[in-house]
Protein backbone atom coordinates (compact mmCIF):
# COMPACT_ATOMS: atom_id res chain seq x y z
CA UNK A 1 0.00 0.00 0.00
CA UNK A 2 1.43 3.33 -1.04
CA UNK A 3 1.31 6.01 1.56
CA UNK A 4 1.36 9.01 -0.70
CA UNK A 5 -0.68 11.13 1.65
CA UNK A 6 -0.11 11.08 5.42
CA UNK A 7 -2.72 9.23 7.40
CA UNK A 8 -5.29 11.45 9.07
CA UNK A 9 -3.82 10.63 12.49
CA UNK A 10 -0.34 11.74 11.41
CA UNK A 11 -1.72 14.87 9.85
CA UNK A 12 -3.59 15.73 13.01
CA UNK A 13 -0.46 15.18 15.11
CA UNK A 14 1.61 17.41 12.81
CA UNK A 15 -0.99 20.13 13.05
CA UNK A 16 -0.98 19.90 16.82
CA UNK A 17 2.84 20.00 16.82
CA UNK A 18 2.68 23.13 14.72
CA UNK A 19 0.18 24.64 17.09
CA UNK A 20 2.40 23.67 20.02
CA UNK A 21 5.37 25.27 18.30
CA UNK A 22 3.40 28.44 17.73
CA UNK A 23 2.37 28.39 21.35
CA UNK A 24 5.96 28.03 22.60
CA UNK A 25 6.98 30.88 20.31
CA UNK A 26 4.39 33.13 21.91
CA UNK A 27 5.26 31.89 25.36
CA UNK A 28 8.93 32.61 24.65
CA UNK A 29 8.18 36.13 23.45
CA UNK A 30 6.03 36.73 26.50
CA UNK A 31 8.84 35.54 28.78
CA UNK A 32 11.44 37.70 27.05
CA UNK A 33 9.24 40.77 26.61
CA UNK A 34 9.76 42.46 30.02
CA UNK A 35 13.54 42.07 29.85
CA UNK A 36 13.57 43.07 26.19
CA UNK A 37 11.48 46.19 26.68
CA UNK A 38 13.50 47.45 29.65
CA UNK A 39 16.78 46.62 27.94
CA UNK A 40 15.73 48.39 24.75
CA UNK A 41 14.47 51.48 26.55
CA UNK A 42 17.28 51.99 29.05
CA UNK A 43 20.32 50.44 27.34
CA UNK A 44 19.87 50.36 23.57
CA UNK A 45 18.18 53.75 23.22
CA UNK A 46 20.94 55.53 25.20
CA UNK A 47 23.63 53.73 23.17
CA UNK A 48 22.05 54.91 19.93
CA UNK A 49 21.60 58.29 21.61
CA UNK A 50 25.31 58.49 22.41
CA UNK A 51 26.19 57.81 18.77
CA UNK A 52 23.68 60.33 17.43
CA UNK A 53 24.62 63.04 19.94
CA UNK A 54 28.30 62.60 19.14
CA UNK A 55 27.58 64.19 15.75
CA UNK A 56 25.93 67.24 17.27
CA UNK A 57 26.74 70.34 19.21
CA UNK A 58 24.41 70.82 22.14
CA UNK A 59 24.44 72.30 25.63
CA UNK A 60 22.12 69.57 26.93
CA UNK A 61 19.44 72.00 28.08
CA UNK A 62 17.57 73.57 25.19
CA UNK A 63 16.37 71.01 22.62
CA UNK A 64 15.84 73.76 20.03
CA UNK A 65 19.52 74.66 20.00
CA UNK A 66 20.80 71.24 18.96
CA UNK A 67 22.78 71.40 15.71
CA UNK A 68 24.32 68.65 13.61
CA UNK A 69 28.00 69.23 13.08
CA UNK A 70 29.07 66.05 11.28
CA UNK A 71 32.47 64.77 12.36
CA UNK A 72 33.50 68.00 14.08
CA UNK A 73 33.53 66.43 17.54
CA UNK A 74 35.75 63.59 16.35
CA UNK A 75 38.16 65.97 14.61
CA UNK A 76 38.34 67.91 17.87
CA UNK A 77 38.81 64.71 19.84
CA UNK A 78 41.80 63.63 17.77
CA UNK A 79 43.46 66.99 18.39
CA UNK A 80 42.43 67.31 22.04
CA UNK A 81 45.58 66.98 24.13
CA UNK A 82 43.59 66.74 27.33
CA UNK A 83 41.71 63.70 26.01
CA UNK A 84 44.92 61.93 25.03
CA UNK A 85 46.50 62.82 28.34
CA UNK A 86 43.49 61.29 30.14
CA UNK A 87 43.66 58.19 27.94
CA UNK A 88 47.39 57.90 28.70
CA UNK A 89 46.56 57.95 32.41
CA UNK A 90 44.20 55.03 31.82
CA UNK A 91 47.05 53.18 30.08
CA UNK A 92 49.44 53.84 32.98
CA UNK A 93 46.72 52.78 35.38
CA UNK A 94 46.08 49.59 33.40
CA UNK A 95 49.81 48.78 33.50
CA UNK A 96 49.93 49.27 37.29
CA UNK A 97 46.80 47.15 37.68
CA UNK A 98 48.26 44.41 35.48
CA UNK A 99 51.53 44.17 37.41
CA UNK A 100 50.39 44.76 40.98
CA UNK A 101 46.81 43.56 40.93
CA UNK A 102 46.42 40.86 38.27
CA UNK A 103 49.88 39.35 38.42
CA UNK A 104 50.27 40.07 42.12
CA UNK A 105 47.00 38.40 43.02
CA UNK A 106 47.97 35.36 40.94
CA UNK A 107 51.11 34.92 43.02
CA UNK A 108 49.17 35.54 46.24
CA UNK A 109 46.55 32.98 45.24
CA UNK A 110 49.30 30.48 44.42
CA UNK A 111 50.95 31.03 47.81
CA UNK A 112 47.64 30.59 49.65
CA UNK A 113 46.72 27.57 47.54
CA UNK A 114 50.12 26.01 48.28
CA UNK A 115 49.14 26.07 51.95
CA UNK A 116 50.81 29.03 53.68
CA UNK A 117 49.94 29.10 57.38
CA UNK A 118 46.99 31.44 57.97
CA UNK A 119 45.74 31.06 54.42
CA UNK A 120 42.06 31.19 55.43
CA UNK A 121 42.73 34.38 57.39
CA UNK A 122 44.48 36.04 54.42
CA UNK A 123 41.59 35.05 52.14
CA UNK A 124 38.99 36.66 54.38
CA UNK A 125 41.02 39.83 55.00
CA UNK A 126 42.03 40.39 51.37
CA UNK A 127 38.49 40.06 50.08
CA UNK A 128 36.88 42.29 52.73
CA UNK A 129 37.47 45.67 50.98
CA UNK A 130 35.72 44.36 47.86
CA UNK A 131 32.33 44.51 49.60
CA UNK A 132 32.82 48.14 50.70
CA UNK A 133 31.72 50.97 48.43
CA UNK A 134 34.57 52.51 46.45
CA UNK A 135 33.44 55.96 47.62
CA UNK A 136 33.98 55.02 51.27
CA UNK A 137 37.38 53.51 50.53
CA UNK A 138 38.44 56.57 48.53
CA UNK A 139 37.36 58.90 51.34
CA UNK A 140 39.24 56.87 53.91
CA UNK A 141 42.28 56.98 51.63
CA UNK A 142 42.18 60.78 51.64
CA UNK A 143 43.00 60.71 55.36
CA UNK A 144 46.07 58.65 54.60
CA UNK A 145 47.34 60.66 51.64
CA UNK A 146 46.57 64.12 53.00
CA UNK A 147 49.78 66.22 52.88
CA UNK A 148 50.05 67.92 56.28
CA UNK A 149 47.97 65.74 58.59
CA UNK A 150 47.92 62.57 56.49
CA UNK A 151 48.84 59.31 58.12
CA UNK A 152 51.33 58.17 55.50
CA UNK A 153 53.47 61.27 55.88
CA UNK A 154 53.07 60.99 59.65
CA UNK A 155 54.34 57.41 59.56
CA UNK A 156 57.24 58.36 57.31
CA UNK A 157 58.28 61.13 59.70
CA UNK A 158 57.94 58.87 62.73
CA UNK A 159 60.26 56.23 61.27
CA UNK A 160 62.76 58.86 60.23
CA UNK A 161 61.99 58.91 56.52
CA UNK A 162 60.42 62.37 56.60
CA UNK A 163 62.34 63.22 53.42
CA UNK A 164 60.05 60.89 51.50
CA UNK A 165 56.93 62.74 52.64
CA UNK A 166 54.92 64.01 49.67
CA UNK A 167 51.84 66.08 49.02
CA UNK A 168 50.64 62.81 47.35
CA UNK A 169 47.23 63.76 45.93
CA UNK A 170 48.36 67.32 45.34
CA UNK A 171 51.45 66.39 43.39
CA UNK A 172 51.64 65.90 39.63
CA UNK A 173 53.72 62.73 39.82
CA UNK A 174 52.07 61.05 42.79
CA UNK A 175 48.36 61.74 42.37
CA UNK A 176 47.74 58.95 39.87
CA UNK A 177 49.91 56.32 41.62
CA UNK A 178 48.18 57.15 44.92
CA UNK A 179 44.77 56.60 43.36
CA UNK A 180 46.03 53.40 41.73
CA UNK A 181 47.40 52.10 45.04
CA UNK A 182 44.02 52.71 46.69
CA UNK A 183 42.13 51.05 43.85
CA UNK A 184 44.45 48.04 43.77
CA UNK A 185 44.38 47.55 47.53
CA UNK A 186 40.59 47.57 47.45
CA UNK A 187 40.13 45.26 44.48
CA UNK A 188 42.99 42.73 44.34
CA UNK A 189 40.99 40.39 46.58
CA UNK A 190 38.47 39.85 43.82
CA UNK A 191 41.12 38.76 41.30
CA UNK A 192 42.61 36.61 44.05
CA UNK A 193 39.44 34.56 44.63
CA UNK A 194 38.99 34.08 40.87
CA UNK A 195 42.52 32.66 40.74
CA UNK A 196 41.93 30.58 43.87
CA UNK A 197 38.84 28.97 42.40
CA UNK A 198 40.80 28.20 39.23
CA UNK A 199 43.71 26.76 41.21
CA UNK A 200 41.42 24.43 43.11
CA UNK A 201 40.61 22.73 39.80
CA UNK A 202 44.23 22.16 38.79
CA UNK A 203 45.28 18.54 38.52
CA UNK A 204 47.43 17.88 41.59
CA UNK A 205 48.83 14.62 40.26
CA UNK A 206 50.74 16.37 37.50
CA UNK A 207 52.30 18.74 40.01
CA UNK A 208 53.24 15.83 42.27
CA UNK A 209 54.78 13.92 39.39
CA UNK A 210 56.84 16.98 38.48
CA UNK A 211 57.91 17.34 42.11
CA UNK A 212 59.07 13.72 42.15
CA UNK A 213 61.07 14.44 39.00
CA UNK A 214 62.83 17.21 40.91
CA UNK A 215 61.18 20.26 39.33
CA UNK A 216 61.40 23.40 41.46
CA UNK A 217 58.21 25.02 42.80
CA UNK A 218 58.80 27.98 40.46
CA UNK A 219 59.03 25.72 37.42
CA UNK A 220 55.84 23.94 38.43
CA UNK A 221 54.06 27.29 38.81
CA UNK A 222 55.13 28.45 35.34
CA UNK A 223 55.16 25.17 33.50
CA UNK A 224 52.08 23.38 34.84
CA UNK A 225 49.86 25.57 36.98
CA UNK A 226 49.73 28.73 34.86
CA UNK A 227 49.03 26.95 31.55
CA UNK A 228 46.21 24.93 33.09
CA UNK A 229 44.40 27.99 34.46
CA UNK A 230 44.87 30.04 31.29
CA UNK A 231 41.13 30.48 30.56
CA UNK A 232 40.44 32.17 33.90
CA UNK A 233 43.76 34.00 33.84
CA UNK A 234 42.75 35.59 30.55
CA UNK A 235 39.37 36.59 32.00
CA UNK A 236 41.07 38.24 34.99
CA UNK A 237 43.56 40.06 32.74
CA UNK A 238 40.73 41.29 30.52
CA UNK A 239 38.66 42.43 33.52
CA UNK A 240 41.69 44.33 34.84
CA UNK A 241 42.17 46.18 31.56
CA UNK A 242 38.48 46.94 31.06
CA UNK A 243 38.00 48.19 34.61
CA UNK A 244 41.12 50.35 34.32
CA UNK A 245 39.57 52.16 31.38
CA UNK A 246 36.19 52.50 33.12
CA UNK A 247 37.79 53.96 36.23
CA UNK A 248 35.72 56.75 37.75
CA UNK A 249 34.63 56.56 41.43
CA UNK A 250 38.05 56.41 43.07
CA UNK A 251 39.52 59.24 40.99
CA UNK A 252 36.42 61.40 41.24
CA UNK A 253 36.37 61.23 45.04
CA UNK A 254 40.12 61.34 45.72
CA UNK A 255 41.35 63.99 43.29
CA UNK A 256 38.53 64.96 40.95
CA UNK A 257 41.09 64.45 38.17
CA UNK A 258 43.51 67.01 39.60
CA UNK A 259 45.85 68.59 40.28
CA UNK A 260 45.67 70.29 36.87
CA UNK A 261 44.36 67.12 35.18
CA UNK A 262 47.32 65.10 36.48
CA UNK A 263 45.01 62.20 37.39
CA UNK A 264 42.23 62.73 34.86
CA UNK A 265 40.88 59.58 33.22
CA UNK A 266 38.65 59.26 30.17
CA UNK A 267 35.50 58.95 32.28
CA UNK A 268 36.27 61.83 34.67
CA UNK A 269 37.04 63.97 31.62
CA UNK A 270 33.78 62.83 30.01
CA UNK A 271 31.86 63.62 33.20
CA UNK A 272 33.32 67.11 33.51
CA UNK A 273 32.79 67.88 29.84
CA UNK A 274 29.16 66.80 30.02
CA UNK A 275 28.02 68.08 33.39
CA UNK A 276 30.51 70.83 34.12
CA UNK A 277 31.03 72.17 30.63
CA UNK A 278 27.57 71.39 29.25
CA UNK A 279 29.12 70.07 26.04
CA UNK A 280 26.85 67.10 25.54
CA UNK A 281 27.83 66.46 21.92
CA UNK A 282 31.55 66.41 22.59
CA UNK A 283 31.14 64.33 25.75
CA UNK A 284 29.16 61.76 23.72
CA UNK A 285 32.04 61.55 21.25
CA UNK A 286 34.37 60.81 24.19
CA UNK A 287 31.95 58.07 25.27
CA UNK A 288 31.94 56.53 21.80
CA UNK A 289 35.75 56.64 21.78
CA UNK A 290 35.79 54.78 25.11
CA UNK A 291 33.42 52.19 23.66
CA UNK A 292 35.75 51.69 20.68
CA UNK A 293 38.83 51.39 22.93
CA UNK A 294 37.14 48.75 25.09
CA UNK A 295 35.98 46.87 22.00
CA UNK A 296 39.52 46.80 20.62
CA UNK A 297 40.92 45.56 23.95
CA UNK A 298 38.33 42.77 24.10
CA UNK A 299 38.99 41.66 20.53
CA UNK A 300 42.80 41.74 20.87
CA UNK A 301 42.61 39.83 24.14
CA UNK A 302 40.29 37.23 22.61
CA UNK A 303 42.62 36.76 19.62
CA UNK A 304 45.69 36.40 21.81
CA UNK A 305 44.15 33.77 24.06
CA UNK A 306 42.74 31.88 21.11
CA UNK A 307 46.06 31.77 19.27
CA UNK A 308 47.90 30.60 22.35
CA UNK A 309 45.22 28.02 23.01
CA UNK A 310 45.63 26.59 19.51
CA UNK A 311 49.41 26.44 19.45
Amino acid sequence: MALSAPLPVVRARRASQKRAAARTTWQAYALIAPAGILYTLFQLVPIVGAFVLSFTSWNGINLGRITFTGFDNYVRLVQDEQFWQSALHNVVFAALVFVFMTFGSFLIAAIIHAGIRGGAFFRIVFFAPVVISSVAVAMLAIFFFSPSQGLINEILRTIGLGGLAQPWLGSNEWALPSVAATYILQNFGFSMILFLSALSQVNDEMCEAAEVDGASQGRILWGIVLPSIRPIASVVVLLGFINSFRLFDTVYVMTGGGPFHASDTIVTYLYRTAFGGNQVGYASAIGVALFVILGVIAVVQLRLTRERGES
Binding site: T24, Q27, A28, L31, I32, P34, A35, G36, L38, F42, Q43, L44, V45, P46, I47, G49, G60, I111, H113, A114, I116, F122, R123, V125, F127, A128, P129, V130, V131, I132, S133, S134, V135, A136, M139, L140, A141, F143, F144, Q149, E154, F190, I193, L194, S197, Q217, I220, L221, V225, I242, D249, V253, V267, L270, A274, F275, V280, G287, V288, L290
Partner: protein, 277 residues
Protein backbone atom coordinates in the same frame (compact mmCIF):
# COMPACT_ATOMS: atom_id res chain seq x y z
CA UNK B 1 52.52 22.92 44.88
CA UNK B 2 53.40 22.66 48.54
CA UNK B 3 54.28 25.68 50.59
CA UNK B 4 56.56 23.52 52.73
CA UNK B 5 58.68 22.80 49.65
CA UNK B 6 59.24 26.49 48.84
CA UNK B 7 62.84 27.58 49.37
CA UNK B 8 63.50 29.31 52.69
CA UNK B 9 63.85 32.83 51.17
CA UNK B 10 60.63 32.27 49.20
CA UNK B 11 58.80 31.30 52.37
CA UNK B 12 60.13 34.32 54.28
CA UNK B 13 59.22 36.69 51.43
CA UNK B 14 55.74 35.13 51.21
CA UNK B 15 55.06 35.75 54.89
CA UNK B 16 56.38 39.31 54.78
CA UNK B 17 54.43 40.11 51.62
CA UNK B 18 51.07 38.66 52.65
CA UNK B 19 51.47 39.84 56.23
CA UNK B 20 52.31 43.35 55.03
CA UNK B 21 49.29 43.39 52.74
CA UNK B 22 47.03 42.21 55.56
CA UNK B 23 48.33 45.11 57.65
CA UNK B 24 47.66 47.52 54.75
CA UNK B 25 44.06 46.29 54.57
CA UNK B 26 43.36 45.99 58.30
CA UNK B 27 45.14 49.10 59.53
CA UNK B 28 42.83 51.63 57.80
CA UNK B 29 39.77 49.77 59.12
CA UNK B 30 41.24 49.63 62.63
CA UNK B 31 42.26 53.29 62.46
CA UNK B 32 38.75 54.25 61.33
CA UNK B 33 37.17 52.19 64.07
CA UNK B 34 39.28 53.75 66.82
CA UNK B 35 39.28 57.31 65.47
CA UNK B 36 35.52 57.45 65.32
CA UNK B 37 35.50 57.66 69.13
CA UNK B 38 37.86 60.66 69.22
CA UNK B 39 37.08 64.32 68.65
CA UNK B 40 38.26 66.13 65.51
CA UNK B 41 41.30 67.71 67.18
CA UNK B 42 42.54 64.40 68.48
CA UNK B 43 42.01 62.71 65.08
CA UNK B 44 44.18 65.30 63.35
CA UNK B 45 46.58 66.19 66.15
CA UNK B 46 47.42 62.75 67.42
CA UNK B 47 46.19 60.31 64.79
CA UNK B 48 47.83 57.20 66.25
CA UNK B 49 46.84 57.69 69.87
CA UNK B 50 44.34 55.35 71.44
CA UNK B 51 41.10 57.19 72.23
CA UNK B 52 41.19 58.43 75.82
CA UNK B 53 37.43 58.51 76.25
CA UNK B 54 34.91 56.72 74.09
CA UNK B 55 32.47 59.26 72.71
CA UNK B 56 29.76 58.32 70.25
CA UNK B 57 29.34 61.95 69.14
CA UNK B 58 30.89 61.47 65.68
CA UNK B 59 28.68 58.53 64.87
CA UNK B 60 25.51 60.20 66.13
CA UNK B 61 26.30 63.55 64.50
CA UNK B 62 27.26 61.98 61.15
CA UNK B 63 24.15 59.79 61.23
CA UNK B 64 21.93 62.82 61.79
CA UNK B 65 23.73 65.32 59.54
CA UNK B 66 23.93 62.82 56.69
CA UNK B 67 20.41 61.54 57.33
CA UNK B 68 21.83 58.03 57.16
CA UNK B 69 18.54 56.48 58.20
CA UNK B 70 17.09 57.81 54.97
CA UNK B 71 20.18 56.81 52.97
CA UNK B 72 20.02 53.23 54.26
CA UNK B 73 16.29 53.08 53.55
CA UNK B 74 16.78 54.34 49.98
CA UNK B 75 19.71 52.03 49.26
CA UNK B 76 17.87 49.05 50.74
CA UNK B 77 14.65 49.79 48.83
CA UNK B 78 16.47 50.25 45.52
CA UNK B 79 18.65 47.17 45.99
CA UNK B 80 15.85 44.85 47.12
CA UNK B 81 13.36 45.90 44.44
CA UNK B 82 15.98 45.89 41.68
CA UNK B 83 17.54 42.55 42.58
CA UNK B 84 14.16 40.83 43.01
CA UNK B 85 12.99 42.28 39.71
CA UNK B 86 16.19 41.27 37.95
CA UNK B 87 15.91 37.67 39.17
CA UNK B 88 12.30 37.41 37.94
CA UNK B 89 12.54 39.34 34.67
CA UNK B 90 15.98 38.19 33.55
CA UNK B 91 15.27 34.69 34.87
CA UNK B 92 12.16 34.43 32.68
CA UNK B 93 14.06 35.58 29.61
CA UNK B 94 16.97 33.26 30.37
CA UNK B 95 14.55 30.32 30.65
CA UNK B 96 13.07 31.10 27.24
CA UNK B 97 16.55 31.30 25.71
CA UNK B 98 17.59 28.03 27.33
CA UNK B 99 14.50 25.92 26.69
CA UNK B 100 12.37 27.23 23.83
CA UNK B 101 12.85 27.43 20.09
CA UNK B 102 11.43 30.49 18.41
CA UNK B 103 12.05 32.70 15.42
CA UNK B 104 14.64 35.36 15.99
CA UNK B 105 16.11 33.62 19.04
CA UNK B 106 19.73 33.82 17.87
CA UNK B 107 19.48 37.50 17.00
CA UNK B 108 17.70 38.47 20.21
CA UNK B 109 20.25 36.58 22.27
CA UNK B 110 23.15 38.19 20.40
CA UNK B 111 21.70 41.64 21.09
CA UNK B 112 21.48 40.90 24.80
CA UNK B 113 25.01 39.51 24.92
CA UNK B 114 26.46 42.46 23.00
CA UNK B 115 25.31 44.75 25.80
CA UNK B 116 27.91 43.11 28.03
CA UNK B 117 30.55 44.99 26.01
CA UNK B 118 29.03 48.44 26.47
CA UNK B 119 30.27 50.04 29.67
CA UNK B 120 27.70 51.95 31.70
CA UNK B 121 29.94 55.02 31.49
CA UNK B 122 29.13 55.30 27.78
CA UNK B 123 25.38 55.40 28.27
CA UNK B 124 25.25 57.46 31.44
CA UNK B 125 24.98 60.83 29.72
CA UNK B 126 22.28 60.07 27.13
CA UNK B 127 20.42 58.07 29.77
CA UNK B 128 20.39 61.08 32.14
CA UNK B 129 18.88 63.18 29.34
CA UNK B 130 16.37 60.43 28.59
CA UNK B 131 15.35 60.15 32.23
CA UNK B 132 14.64 63.86 32.44
CA UNK B 133 12.75 63.72 29.13
CA UNK B 134 10.57 60.99 30.65
CA UNK B 135 9.94 63.22 33.66
CA UNK B 136 11.72 60.73 35.93
CA UNK B 137 14.75 62.75 36.93
CA UNK B 138 15.46 62.80 40.64
CA UNK B 139 13.34 59.69 41.33
CA UNK B 140 14.23 56.32 42.76
CA UNK B 141 12.10 54.79 40.02
CA UNK B 142 14.55 56.00 37.37
CA UNK B 143 17.41 54.22 39.17
CA UNK B 144 15.39 51.03 39.59
CA UNK B 145 14.46 51.00 35.89
CA UNK B 146 18.11 51.50 34.96
CA UNK B 147 19.22 48.60 37.19
CA UNK B 148 16.42 46.35 35.90
CA UNK B 149 17.82 46.86 32.42
CA UNK B 150 21.26 45.51 33.41
CA UNK B 151 20.29 42.29 31.68
CA UNK B 152 23.30 40.79 29.87
CA UNK B 153 25.21 39.21 32.75
CA UNK B 154 22.10 37.82 34.46
CA UNK B 155 20.71 36.36 31.24
CA UNK B 156 24.02 34.80 30.22
CA UNK B 157 24.59 33.31 33.63
CA UNK B 158 21.05 32.06 34.33
CA UNK B 159 20.70 30.62 30.83
CA UNK B 160 23.83 28.54 31.43
CA UNK B 161 22.32 27.34 34.71
CA UNK B 162 19.02 26.35 33.04
CA UNK B 163 20.92 24.53 30.29
CA UNK B 164 22.64 22.45 32.96
CA UNK B 165 19.29 21.04 34.15
CA UNK B 166 18.78 17.72 32.34
CA UNK B 167 16.03 18.05 29.76
CA UNK B 168 14.83 14.51 30.45
CA UNK B 169 13.73 15.48 33.94
CA UNK B 170 11.41 18.14 32.61
CA UNK B 171 10.09 15.88 29.86
CA UNK B 172 9.39 13.06 32.28
CA UNK B 173 7.41 15.45 34.48
CA UNK B 174 5.49 16.70 31.44
CA UNK B 175 4.56 13.15 30.45
CA UNK B 176 3.34 12.60 34.01
CA UNK B 177 0.97 15.49 33.38
CA UNK B 178 2.76 18.29 35.22
CA UNK B 179 2.05 21.79 33.93
CA UNK B 180 4.60 24.47 33.11
CA UNK B 181 4.18 26.06 36.52
CA UNK B 182 4.67 22.81 38.43
CA UNK B 183 7.76 21.95 36.38
CA UNK B 184 9.24 25.37 37.09
CA UNK B 185 8.57 25.46 40.82
CA UNK B 186 9.22 21.77 41.56
CA UNK B 187 12.13 20.93 39.28
CA UNK B 188 13.81 23.80 37.50
CA UNK B 189 14.00 26.45 40.20
CA UNK B 190 15.19 24.16 43.01
CA UNK B 191 17.97 22.89 40.74
CA UNK B 192 19.12 26.39 39.76
CA UNK B 193 18.82 27.96 43.20
CA UNK B 194 22.54 28.50 43.70
CA UNK B 195 22.86 30.24 40.33
CA UNK B 196 20.05 32.60 41.31
CA UNK B 197 21.76 33.22 44.65
CA UNK B 198 25.01 34.03 42.84
CA UNK B 199 23.38 36.46 40.45
CA UNK B 200 21.47 38.05 43.32
CA UNK B 201 24.64 38.51 45.37
CA UNK B 202 26.62 40.05 42.53
CA UNK B 203 23.86 42.44 41.50
CA UNK B 204 23.22 43.42 45.13
CA UNK B 205 26.89 44.41 45.47
CA UNK B 206 26.88 46.29 42.15
CA UNK B 207 23.69 48.17 42.90
CA UNK B 208 24.38 48.91 46.57
CA UNK B 209 27.79 50.37 45.72
CA UNK B 210 26.90 52.08 42.43
CA UNK B 211 27.93 55.72 42.45
CA UNK B 212 27.72 56.92 38.85
CA UNK B 213 23.99 56.56 38.15
CA UNK B 214 22.79 58.03 41.47
CA UNK B 215 25.25 60.88 40.86
CA UNK B 216 23.74 61.82 37.50
CA UNK B 217 20.09 60.86 38.18
CA UNK B 218 19.47 62.30 41.64
CA UNK B 219 19.45 65.89 42.82
CA UNK B 220 17.60 66.17 46.12
CA UNK B 221 19.25 64.73 49.19
CA UNK B 222 16.14 62.88 50.39
CA UNK B 223 16.55 60.54 47.40
CA UNK B 224 20.28 59.89 47.84
CA UNK B 225 21.83 56.44 48.21
CA UNK B 226 24.66 55.68 50.64
CA UNK B 227 27.64 56.24 48.29
CA UNK B 228 26.14 59.50 47.05
CA UNK B 229 25.18 60.75 50.51
CA UNK B 230 28.62 59.82 51.78
CA UNK B 231 30.34 61.71 48.96
CA UNK B 232 28.43 64.84 49.96
CA UNK B 233 30.26 64.81 53.29
CA UNK B 234 33.55 65.34 51.58
CA UNK B 235 32.63 68.76 50.28
CA UNK B 236 30.67 70.03 53.24
CA UNK B 237 32.72 68.87 56.25
CA UNK B 238 36.30 69.04 55.05
CA UNK B 239 37.41 70.89 58.13
CA UNK B 240 35.43 68.86 60.59
CA UNK B 241 37.15 65.50 60.31
CA UNK B 242 35.15 63.90 63.10
CA UNK B 243 31.97 63.96 61.01
CA UNK B 244 33.82 62.57 57.99
CA UNK B 245 35.20 59.69 60.01
CA UNK B 246 31.76 59.09 61.51
CA UNK B 247 30.12 59.03 58.08
CA UNK B 248 32.67 56.58 56.67
CA UNK B 249 32.27 54.43 59.79
CA UNK B 250 28.49 54.10 59.46
CA UNK B 251 28.73 53.33 55.72
CA UNK B 252 31.49 50.76 56.04
CA UNK B 253 30.65 48.66 59.08
CA UNK B 254 27.19 47.27 58.25
CA UNK B 255 28.39 45.73 54.94
CA UNK B 256 31.54 44.48 56.68
CA UNK B 257 29.45 42.78 59.38
CA UNK B 258 27.28 41.10 56.75
CA UNK B 259 30.47 39.99 55.02
CA UNK B 260 31.84 38.68 58.30
CA UNK B 261 28.76 36.51 58.72
CA UNK B 262 28.52 35.30 55.14
CA UNK B 263 32.10 35.51 53.87
CA UNK B 264 32.42 31.87 52.88
CA UNK B 265 29.22 31.72 50.83
CA UNK B 266 29.92 35.11 49.32
CA UNK B 267 33.39 34.15 48.15
CA UNK B 268 32.27 30.81 46.79
CA UNK B 269 29.43 32.39 44.85
CA UNK B 270 31.51 35.18 43.40
CA UNK B 271 34.41 32.98 42.40
CA UNK B 272 31.97 30.54 40.83
CA UNK B 273 30.50 33.39 38.83
CA UNK B 274 33.92 34.67 37.82
CA UNK B 275 34.90 31.28 36.50
CA UNK B 276 31.81 31.27 34.27
CA UNK B 277 31.86 34.91 33.24
Amino acid sequence: MKFARFSLPARIISYIWLGGLAVCVLFPIAWLTLSVFKDSNAIVGDPFAFPTHFSLDNIVEAWQQGDFGRLYLNSALITIISVTGILIIEGAAAYAFARMKFTGMAILFAIFVAGQLVPSQVIVLPSALQVSALGLSDTLLALILQYLSWAPFAILFLRAAFLAVPRELEEAARIDGAGVFTILTRIVLPMTRSAFATVGTIYALWIWNDFLFPLVYLQSSENFTIPLGLAQFQGSFTTYWGYLVGAIFVSVWPPLLVYGLLNRQLQDRLSFAGSKG
